[in-house]
Symmetry: C2
Subunit: 204 residues, 2 copies
Amino acid sequence: MSERPRQQRWERTRAALLDAAVTCLVEDGYAETTLQRVQTRAGVSRGALLHHFGSKSELLVAAVRHIAERQIAYVRTRFHDLPPVEGRVDAAVDLFREVMSGPLFLAGLELWLAARTDEALRQALVPGERELGRTLHDLLSQAFPHLSGTDRQSTVSHESLLALLRGLALSSVLRTDRTIEDEVLHLWADQILRPVPSSLETSR
Amino acid sequence: MSERPRQQRWERTRAALLDAAVTCLVEDGYAETTLQRVQTRAGVSRGALLHHFGSKSELLVAAVRHIAERQIAYVRTRFHDLPPVEGRVDAAVDLFREVMSGPLFLAGLELWLAARTDEALRQALVPGERELGRTLHDLLSQAFPHLSGTDRQSTVSHESLLALLRGLALSSVLRTDRTIEDEVLHLWADQILRPVPSSLETSR
DNA sequence: ATAAACAGTCCGTCTGGACGGTCTTTTTTA
DNA sequence: TAAAAAAGACCGTCCAGACGGACTGTTTAT
């Protein structure tokens, strides 16, 4: 027994709250994400919520980190499964596509835009996003060596991908047609990812 | 004479409300955009606000159209001042940059993301954005003939620009360094806009 | 036993919206 | 043309509900 059940329960409640917060962000949007909804969704009382997170912003900040960690972990494992050469680019594009339209990304977007006019939230958001950016950069460099290094061009390429993903996620809000998003991503991949394998690659 | 003062006053009040709504969206964000703040900012009573716009969503919907119209008008006039050939691409990039970080674009972003979880707002948003998209496409085609036509490639190019602009605007929320945004835009322009001279694409 | 983890209630504030009243134009009428 | 009537634009207050969060009580593990 020792101290298992206590710790376990504490973590379960906390995780439920964080998951509920993320779900609420994704399904209801930032403006409608209230403590009441989060507590209901998590199946937890008000006292429990305030016990774990002293204020609303504290909950959201924790949710940010939660999101960032899961995003990083997910992208990392999926990147290891990338096919060696043949179809590598297409698989990477598919992964981008998937992450982009996933709940983690959407919740991030909500918080990101909300952080524009909320200084505290912005400051809390920065470190997580920095780490995510660095991780993504590392993974990209690893998968596509010609984008590695700290030179200006690879940085810009990397940054353009992130901007593109965010923009596409935003565009898809008012659009039902998904094919154009794939085409845009493939256009980017053709221009940035494809050109310099420096040696072999099967392309036209 | 006859019915001038009335009309004038009505329009002034209405315009003040719409401008205040946009300003509020830009400075306070969607979640903090309340009727109280809008009415205070516009220097107008609560009764007047509700007289002009029967509900909050009605006000925001009108603000959307307001934004869209001003965006379109502004982009159109600026596009006509584009230099003929030399420096045309750079001037266009500057214009994109300017519009992207302007208040109109930001207010649009706020409403756009809010529309993700608000069906009524989304439906109100669609026609204005469609028109904006069409106008931008026309202007782009006019300025860069090799992007004209309804073929798939030019559509995708055009769409990728919009996504990029939206994504960059979002990225700039957490970033103070503006140079990377310009570099990303120039990267896009070099890949998409530059191969202009003849009607056949060139690669180097 | 005692402290952590949780539950439930309560409070002050603010929200969007309803409402009746006031003042200023416009239209009608004589 | 001038007075009376109607219409329109605007004002300020009020309200029910929802918000964030503080509070006190109850359970549970150690």
